[in-house]
Symmetry: C2
């Protein structure tokens, strides 16, 4: 291979993105500067936050400019290195800095070394990446989860959800997952959930949450917003903590005002706390959390399921699978075979 292939943002979608919002381009493989490395993508990430970057609207981080390579994390094999810390054949991971492309020039300060003996490669974009850190800090810091509590997680079979269920179980809490299908529900039960609500099969979602959380919901990790949020908010226990991690249910109407039930009265009565959550606020604590997660992975206490699409040409398709809830487990794109 002598060319680099990349997906560039071509237009801002309204509501749900489509493949037409990107263009698939080719260019030369870049040269690493005097301190940088050149990495070849093995796995690339797709994640809900990317929807927010496909917009000129105010967000917690700047959007991708039209014509630029789409933002994204990745695991790569070092091909060339001008950095003392890395040599060809090493594996590196970056949360956002790879981009949707086959080759990337990376600064050593922007990557972490992958230690394959701790966990297989895909885990480094999962339990040991943004998803794991999100589940860990959303539950244990923002959510202040305590043993014996009832924890509800929406999008429970998804990338953050499958890890949150396992951390909740490890921490002595009772986790209830909310997910779309029986297949996903079965996986949730394997992934630590004591009970699962299949929301598409529940005519009265509020009652279904009440039935699985008879003493109320102590911690709610909200990955979706929308009607699932509404059902849980009507079942809060006193002093409940609601952590707003994502709003994927709003993806189809991204940027439009979200109109619906409001829960100020319930929030007051429960003296609940609702917190907006961004894992980037925990940068300085992630090394320690990652050590714990790696220990759980090595001990077999933390298992992820992956939904892997092959081929750089399928990046948009993989991302759209995720936005439309078709994936089971962490969605990744495998761009090249794993070296032995």
């Amino acid at each position: 291979m002598t060319v680099n292939r990349h997906w560039r943002l071509a237009s801002y979608p309204e509501g749900m993105p489509s493949e037409a919002n990107w263009t698939f381009t080719e260019g030369p493989i870049p040269e690493p500067g005097p301190t940088a490395i050149l990495a070849r993508a093995i796995y690339l990430d797709v994640a809900p936050y990317m929807r927010g970057r496909m917009s000129p609207q105010k967000n917690y981080a700047p959007g991708v400019k039209l014509g630029d390579v789409m933002i994204g994390g990745g695991i790569g094999e070092v091909i060339e290195s001008n950095a003392a810390q890395y040599k060809p054949g090493d594996f590196v991971v970056t949360d956002h800095g790879f981009g949707w492309q086959q080759y990337a020039v990376l600064q050593p300060s922007a990557v972490r070394k992958v230690e394959r003996e701790l966990a297989p490669l895909p885990y480094w974009l999962d339990a040991l990446g943004l998803n794991g850190m999100t589940a860990y800090f959303a539950l244990l810091d923002a959510g202040r989860m305590r043993p014996g509590e009832t924890v509800v997680v929406s999008a429970a079979a998804g990338s953050v959800g499958q890890i949150a269920g396992q951390i909740a179980r490890l921490g002595g809490a009772r986790a209830v997952g909310i997910t779309s299908s029986a297949t996903k529900a079965a996986w949730c039960r394997e992934a630590g959930y004591a009970d699962v609500v299949e929301y598409r099969n529940e005519p009265d979602l509020r009652a279904a949450v009440a039935n699985t959380c008879v003493a109320g919901v102590d911690v709610f990790i909200d990955n979706t917003g929308g009607p699932i949020h509404d059902a849980v908010m009507q079942n809060l226990a006193t002093y409940a903590r609601v952590v707003i991690v994502g709003s994927i249910s709003l993806a189809a109407k991204f940027g439009q005002p979200d109109i619906g039930l409001r829960f100020q009265r319930q929030t007051l009565i429960a003296r609940a706390t609702i917190r907006g959550f961004l894992v980037s606020d925990y940068q300085h604590q992630q090394a320690e959390a990652r050590r714990r997660m790696a220990e759980w992975c090595r001990a077999g206490l933390m298992k992820s399921r992956f939904d892997i699409v092959k081929g750089i040409e399928n990046m948009p398709q993989a991302f759209l699978r995720l936005l439309t809830s078709q994936n089971l487990g962490k969605q990744l794109v495998q761009v090249a075979d794993e070296p032995a």
Copy 2:
């Protein structure tokens, strides 16, 4: 006077209460038991929380039963005492335990002694009562207000609002009040507010808040809910703290679902914290807060404005003044002249 007169709850209102929801009754003056006191009301409280007690719906405290004397705080003069701590002529205050009546039998554990040398009688149902404690803990504990921050308070000329403005100024924050009229706005400026938004005169309330809070809102003490809430939520600074203290704007549609704009995305982007607040959760810290408030009162740093209706027969009218935002300052009912 040989009879006691009381207001009893006759029916549960739908939406805004009316005088027909109570009946004005007479009965014998009760006898204090072996450890109790008999007090004669001087001032009785009316407060928004009472609306929540006029309902069989789930709330943070049980509602008043039909036929029972309406709940409420009061300041009374001790007429008879079987309690060692009190003698006739003393003044006592209770946050909720007096009821809408002229005479009440009170247990000494349920009242506090009024020290008139610290502050005039009405202050004991205000800065040194629930309103003062609410403003103090909502700002300093739940809101974690810091010097230099921008604090927005809705219902700023009201009982909690007028105290919150003064505490914010004492704490080195810049307080912006939201209130209904020019008269109230003028009082807000006296009461510590650096800037005031008169919401009835603002065609674009969101822009008006933005113009007075150019770096965003760090702390929002929300006494109202509704459209004022919406305007502030669209102006949150990063790491903003929103304290849900009351929802008086919903009084007219009490018990109905509150439908409107939702701010999950803004909450996430700002990493804001929204907390439901009840002053009763701070019971064990109130003695210390009350000492500080009393010190500020004595030093002339904490001044309240009172809106005093006279006569036990006007209790419902005073309460309805409050619910319809006609009062200026803390609304009380004076049931008897203050003894010299």
